[in-house]
C-alpha cells in the first residue's frame, strides 16, 4: 500500500521553553534517533520527559531550536507539517466532529486533489482494513472510543504517509481494548511497512509494539535498544526502574575482572555482571535484580545461601508475589511455578538464591532522576 519505506534520522534536535518557575527548560536536549526504513520505534518515558515534544518536532508541529531532521536522507527540518507527508494519530484522536467518518478519512486525499472515484475506493479499502466498513456515514460522536481510534488510524494511513506517528494513541481506551488495539496497530504497521514512531509512557505497551525502544528522561534519550536489551541490560537505574519491576540493592564492589564483578551485599558475596564500564573495587553500587530472577525455597537446606523472611504474599492467579526481608533490605519476588503446595506463607523463613547471570551492577551515582520514575 505504501511506496518504498524510508528511514527517519533525528540529529541532535533540541527544544527550549520558558517555564514560569524554573526559567528556561529543555523539553528536548540533543535528541538523536535513527529509525530504519519500515521499523517501529517507541519513545518511552515518564510525563515531561520530552517524548511528545520530540514526536511533534518529527511531525513538524514544533520547530527544533537546534539540530536536523531527515526523512530518507532528505532534510525536512524547516518544512511545516503539511508538507512532510506524515500520518499522525493524536491521543484524543482529533476527529473532525462536523465531518462524517468518510469525510474525515477522505480529508487528506481531498487536500491532495485525488480524483473522487479513487477517494471513494481508497477510503473504502482503508475502512475495511481497520474493520469499519459500513461506518462511512456515521459521525465521530456516535462511535465508541475504540472505533474512533480506528478512524484516526485509517485517516492517518490512507494518505500513504512516509512516516506514521502516534502520540499515546491508546491512553483513552480501557485496559482490554488497549491490549487488542496495540496488536492491531503492530499488525497493520508490519503489513504496510511504514516507518513508525510511537510515544507512550506504558512500558508494557512499548514492549508489545516496538522493534526498538528509546527511553527518554528529562529531555534526553537515556538508552535505546530492543525490549530485551532494556530489560536485561539496563544502562542506568532509571531505565532499570522504568522498564519492568526491579530490586535495587545497595552493594560495594569487591573485585572487577572484565565484565564479571564480585560485590558485597546482603551480608554476603555475590557475583554479578557489570552494567557499566569503569567500576573499581570499593565503589558504592546497586545490584539490579528482577523479581522473577530470585529463586526462593522453604528454609532448611544449610548450603550457605541467603536467609529471608516472607513479610507479605499476594496470590495473583498465575503468579504469586512475595515481599521478603533479607539482611535489612526488602526484596520483591515473583514466582510462576506456584503449584498448590509451593506457596510459602507469610512469616515463614526462606532461602534466597539469585539466578545465574541475572544480576547487574550499576554505579550508585546514576541514581539521578530515579526518584520520580
Amino acid at each position: 500500500m505504501t511506496a518504498e519505506s524510508i528511514g527517519v534520522e533525528v540529529d541532535r534536535i533540541s527544544k527550549r521553553y520558558a517555564h514560569r518557575v524554573k526559567g528556561e527548560v529543555y523539553a528536548a536536549r540533543a535528541v538523536v534517533l535513527n529509525v530504519r526504513p519500515g521499523a517501529f520505534l517507541t519513545l518511552l518515558g515518564p510525563s515531561g520527559c520530552g517524548k511528545t515534544t520530540t514526536l511533534r518536532m518529527i511531525a513538524g508541529y514544533e520547530m527544533p531550536d537546534a539540530g536536523r531532521i531527515r526523512f530518507g536522507g532528505q532534510d525536512v527540518t524547516t518544512e511545516p507539517a503539511n508538507r512532510r507527508n506524515i500520518g499522525f494519530v493524536f491521543q484524543n484522536y482529533a476527529l473532525f466532529p462536523h465531518l462524517s467518518i468518510f469525510d474525515n478519512v477522505a480529508y487528506g486525499l481531498n487536500v491532495r486533489k485525488v480524483p473522487a472515484a479513487e477517494v471513494r475506493q481508497r477510503v473504502g479499502e482503508v475502512l475495511s482494513l481497520v474493520g469499519l466498513a459500513g461506518y462511512e456515514g456515521q459521525f465521530s460522536g456516535q462511535l465508541s472510543g475504540g472505533e474512533q481510534q480506528r478512524v484516526a488510524l485509517a485517516r492517518a494511513i490512507v494518505i500513504r504517509p512516509r512516516v506514521l506517528l502516534f502520540d499515546e494513541p491508546l491512553s483513552n481506551l480501557d485496559a482490554k481494548l488497549r491490549v487488542q488495539m496495540r496488536h492491531e496497530i503492530r499488525d497493520l504497521q508490519r503489513r504496510l511497512a511504514i516507518t513508525t514512531v510511537y510515544v507512550t509512557h506504558d512500558q508494557e505497551e512499548a514492549m508489545a509494539v516496538s522493534d526498538r525502544i528509546a527511553v527518554m528522561n528529562e529531555g534526553s534519550v537515556v538508552q535505546e535498544g530492543s525490549a530485551e536489551d532494556l530489560y536485561h541490560r539496563p544502562a542506568s537505574q532509571f531505565v532499570a526502574q522504568f522498564v519492568g519491576r526491579v530490586n535495587l540493592v545497595a552493594a560495594r564492589v569487591l573485585t572487577v575482572a572484565g565484565d564479571a564483578v564480585s560485590v558485597a551485599a546482603l551480608g554476603t558475596t555475590i557475583g554479578a555482571r557489570a552494567g557499566r564500564a569503569g567500576l573499581a573495587p570499593g565503589d558504592a553500587v546497586r545490584l539490579v535484580v528482577r523479581p522473577e530472577s530470585i529463586v526462593i525455597a522453604p528454609a532448611g537446606g544449610a548450603d550457605g545461601s541467603l536467609q529471608a523472611t516472607v513479610t507479605a504474599r499476594t496470590f495473583l492467579g498465575e503468579k504469586i508475589e512475595y515481599l521478603l526481608r533479607c539482611a535489612g533490605e526488602t526484596l520483591q519476588v515473583v514466582r510462576y511455578d506456584a503449584g498448590p503446595g509451593a506457596a510459602m506463607p507469610e512469616g515463614s523463613n526462606v532461602t534466597v538464591r539469585f539466578a545465574a547471570d541475572a544480576v547487574t551492577v550499576l554505579p550508585e551515582v546514576a541514581a539521578k532522576g530515579t526518584s520520580d520514575a
Partner: protein
C-alpha cells in the same frame, strides 16, 4: 500527554507568520472600534466638561448637586440592588428546580419557554401588563378587588416588573452551574450523615456562590441600565438615572446635563462589569469536565421540598403566562378595563399608521443582523486564535458598548454623530452601528468560547494531512464556529427588535422603531396598539429564533460542539 506540555506557553496559533490578511482585518476593526466605541465616549466627556470650547465643571456640578438628581442616583442603586436580589432568588429557584427536580422532559421545556418569553419581549411588556392588572382601572385591583384610586407607579411595581423581566438571566447563569455540580458530591455528604437540608446548605449552596454573585451582578447591571420599565412605572415618585438623563435631553434639550447624568450612571456600571468579568467569573469551582455523573445520581430533594419548589416555580410561570395572555387579550379588545368587545382595530392601526416603524425596524434588523454576526465571529476569531499587538485591549474595547447602559451609548452617539466631521444623525446607519457594536459582542464571546473548546489538535490534524492554513480555516475552523455566528445573528436580531434605551436617542423622522412607537402609544395612553405591537414583536422574534435554531441544527453535525443558548453571555 507528556509533561512537556506543562512547560509550553499558552497554545499559540499554528504557523505564526506575518499575515497581510490578518493585519488588514485587525486594522479595519481598530478603525471601526475607534469610530463607534472610543470616539463617542470621548465626545461624551468632552461635551460634559466643556462649554463653547472652554473647560468647565460648572454644568456637571450643577447637575450632581441637584437634590432631585442625587435622589435619582440613590434610587437607581436601590432598585438595582433589590432587582439583583429578587431576580437571583427567583432565578435560583428555577435553576435549582430544573437541575435537581427530576422534571419530565415536557415540563422542562415549558419552564424553558416561560423563562425565555421575557427575554425576547419588547421592554414594556411586563410594564404594560402591570398597568393592565394593577392600575387605577386594573383587572385585579379594580375589577377583582374593587379597590379605587390605586397608584401602580413607584418602586414596588418597577421592582416586580424588572425582577420578572430579568430573572431569566439569573436562570441561564445558574442552571449550567448547578447542573455541573457533580451530584455524587452531594451524595457523599449525604452518606456521611448530613440531612438533605444540611447537604444543600453546606455543599450545594457554597459551590453555587460564585454563580449567585455572577447572577446578582448581571441583574444589577441590567436593572441599572433599564430605561423602559422605570419610565412607565417609576412615575414622579421614583426617578432613576436613565429616565432622568432621557428627560434632561428630550424635555429640557440639555445635552450636557444628560451627558453628566449618564456619566454618573457609568461609574457603577463599570464597577459591576469589571467585578463580574475579572473577579467573580474567575472564582468558579465547577469546571465542566464532560465526565457524566454516575448512573444513579443522588436524589438531593425530598418529595416535600420538590413539591414546594415546583409550586413556587409554577406560581411565577403562571404570572408570566397571565401577563402575556393579558397582553394578547388587550390587543384584541376595544379598551381593556372599559370595553371588552373583540376587535382587530389595534392590529389594523399598527399595520397602517405603524407600518413605517415596522418596516424601518425590519430593514435595520436585516442589516444589523449579518453585520453583527460577522463582526462577532471575525473579532472573536482574531482575539482567540491570532497573535497581534493589542489583542487583549481589542477584546476589552469591543466589550465597552455592550457593558455600558444603553442610555450612555445612545447619548454618546447622539453627541458624537450630530455634527461634522461625522454626521450620522437621522440616518439608519447610526442605528445599525449602535446595534452592531452593542450586541455583536455576544457573538464575540460565543466565538471565543467555542474556539476555546475546540482542541488545537483538530487544526493540527488537518495540517498533518497536508492542508495549508487557508484550507484548515475554511474546512475545519469555520464550520466549527458557525454556531457562534448564528448565536450572534440571533442576539443582534432580538435586540434590534426589542431595544430602546440607546436607540431612543437615535431615531428620527426618517427612521423610527417599533419600540419607540410603543412608547409613544403608551404616553398617549393608547394601550391597545401598544399591546398589539408588543404581540407582533414577540411573534416575529419567536419565528426568527425558531428559524435560526433550525439553521443551527442543520449546520451542526452530530457531535459538534453545541451552542447552549442563543442568549448566553
Amino acid at each position: 500527554m507528556t509533561g512537556a506540555t506543562a512547560v509550553m506557553p499558552a497554545a499559540g496559533p499554528t504557523g505564526v507568520r506575518r499575515d497581510p490578511v490578518v493585519a488588514a482585518a485587525v486594522l479595519a476593526l481598530w478603525l471601526l472600534l475607534g469610530l463607534f466605541v472610543v470616539y463617542p465616549l470621548a465626545m461624551l466627556f468632552v461635551r460634559m466638561l466643556t462649554d463653547h470650547g472652554t473647560f468647565t465643571t460648572a454644568g456637571v456640578v450643577a447637575i450632581l448637586t441637584d437634590r432631585h438628581q442625587v435622589r435619582a442616583f440613590w434610587n437607581s442603586l436601590l432598585l438595582a440592588t433589590l432587582v439583583g436580589i429578587a431576580g437571583t432568588v427567583v432565578g435560583f429557584l428555577f435553576a435549582f428546580t430544573a437541575a435537581r427536580g427530576r422534571l419530565p422532559r415536557w415540563l422542562l421545556s415549558i419552564v424553558d419557554a416561560s423563562v425565555l418569553l421575557p427575554l425576547v419581549s419588547p421592554p414594556f411588556t411586563t410594564a404594560i401588563a402591570m398597568i393592565f392588572s394593577f392600575g387605577p382601572r386594573g383587572l385585579i385591583t379594580y375589577d377583582l378587588l374593587g379597590l379605587k384610586g390605586v397608584t401602580v407607579y413607584g418602586l414596588t411595581s418597577t421592582l416586580c416588573s424588572e425582577a420578572l423581566t430579568y430573572f431569566p438571566i439569573a436562570y441561564l447563569t445558574l442552571r449550567p452551574i448547578l447542573a455541573a455540580i457533580d451530584s455524587n458530591i452531594e451524595g457523599m455528604a449525604f452518606s456521611l450523615g448530613a440531612s438533605r437540608w444540611r447537604v444543600f446548605r453546606t455543599v450545594t449552596l457554597p459551590l453555587a456562590v460564585p454563580g449567585l454573585a455572577n447572577a446578582f451582578l448581571l441583574l444589577f447591571a441590567a436593572s441599572l441600565a433599564d430605561f423602559a420599565t422605570p419610565l412607565i412605572l417609576g412615575g414622579n415618585q421614583f426617578p432613576v438615572l436613565p429616565t432622568q438623563a432621557y428627560l434632561q435631553i428630550t424635555g429640557l434639550f440639555d445635552l450636557r446635563g444628560g451627558a453628566a447624568l449618564s456619566f454618573v450612571l457609568l461609574l457603577p456600571a463599570l464597577i459591576v462589569f469589571l467585578l463580574q468579568r475579572y473577579w467573580v467569573s474567575r472564582r468558579f469551582y465547577v469546571t465542566i469536565t464532560g465526565k457524566g455523573a454516575g448512573q444513579t445520581p443522588f436524589n438531593s430533594l425530598s418529595p416535600a421540598a420538590r413539591g414546594a419548589l415546583l409550586c413556587a416555580c409554577a406560581t411565577v410561570a403562571v404570572v408570566i403566562v397571565y401577563f402575556y395572555a393579558l397582553l394578547l387579550y388587550a390587543s384584541l379588545v376595544m379598551a381593556l378595563g372599559a370595553n371588552h368587545t373583540f376587535t382587530l382595530q389595534h392590529y389594523r392601526a399598527i399595520f397602517t399608521d405603524g407600518m413605517k416603524a415596522i418596516r424601518d425596524t425590519l430593514i435595520i434588523a436585516a442589516f444589523a443582523m449579518p453585520l453583527g454576526g460577522l463582526y462577532g465571529v471575525l473579532l472573536g476569531y482574531l482575539v482567540a486564535k491570532r497573535n497581534f499587538i493589542g489583542r487583549r485591549t481589542m477584546e476589552l474595547v469591543s466589550m465597552v458598548n455592550y457593558a455600558l447602559p444603553g442610555t450612555i451609548v445612545g447619548i454618546a452617539y447622539l453627541i458624537a454623530f450630530n455634527d461634522p466631521p461625522i454626521e450620522l444623525t437621522g440616518t439608519a446607519l447610526i442605528i445599525v452601528a449602535c446595534y452592531v457594536f452593542r450586541y455583536g459582542p455576544t457573538g464575540i464571546r460565543a466565538t471565543i468560547a467555542l474556539l476555546q473548546q475546540i482542541d488545537k489538535s483538530l487544526e493540527e490534524a488537518s495540517q498533518g494531512l497536508g492542508a495549508g492554513t487557508a484550507t484548515t480555516f475554511r474546512r475545519i475552523t469555520l464550520p466549527l464556529i458557525l454556531p457562534a455566528f448564528f448565536a450572534g445573528l440571533g442576539v443582534v436580531f432580538i435586540r434590534s427588535m426589542t431595544a430602546i434605551s440607546a436607540t431612543i436617542f437615535l431615531v428620527s423622522i426618517g427612521w423610527t422603531l417599533i419600540t419607540v412607537k410603543i412608547l409613544e402609544n403608551i404616553t398617549e395612553l393608547s394601550l391597545g396598539p401598544a399591546a398589539a405591537f408588543s404581540v407582533l414583536v414577540v411573534v416575529i422574534v419567536f419565528v426568527v429564533v425558531a428559524i435560526i435554531g433550525r439553521l443551527l441544527r442543520l449546520f451542526r453535525a452530530p457531535g459538534a460542539v453545541p451552542m447552549t443558548s442563543l442568549l448566553g453571555g
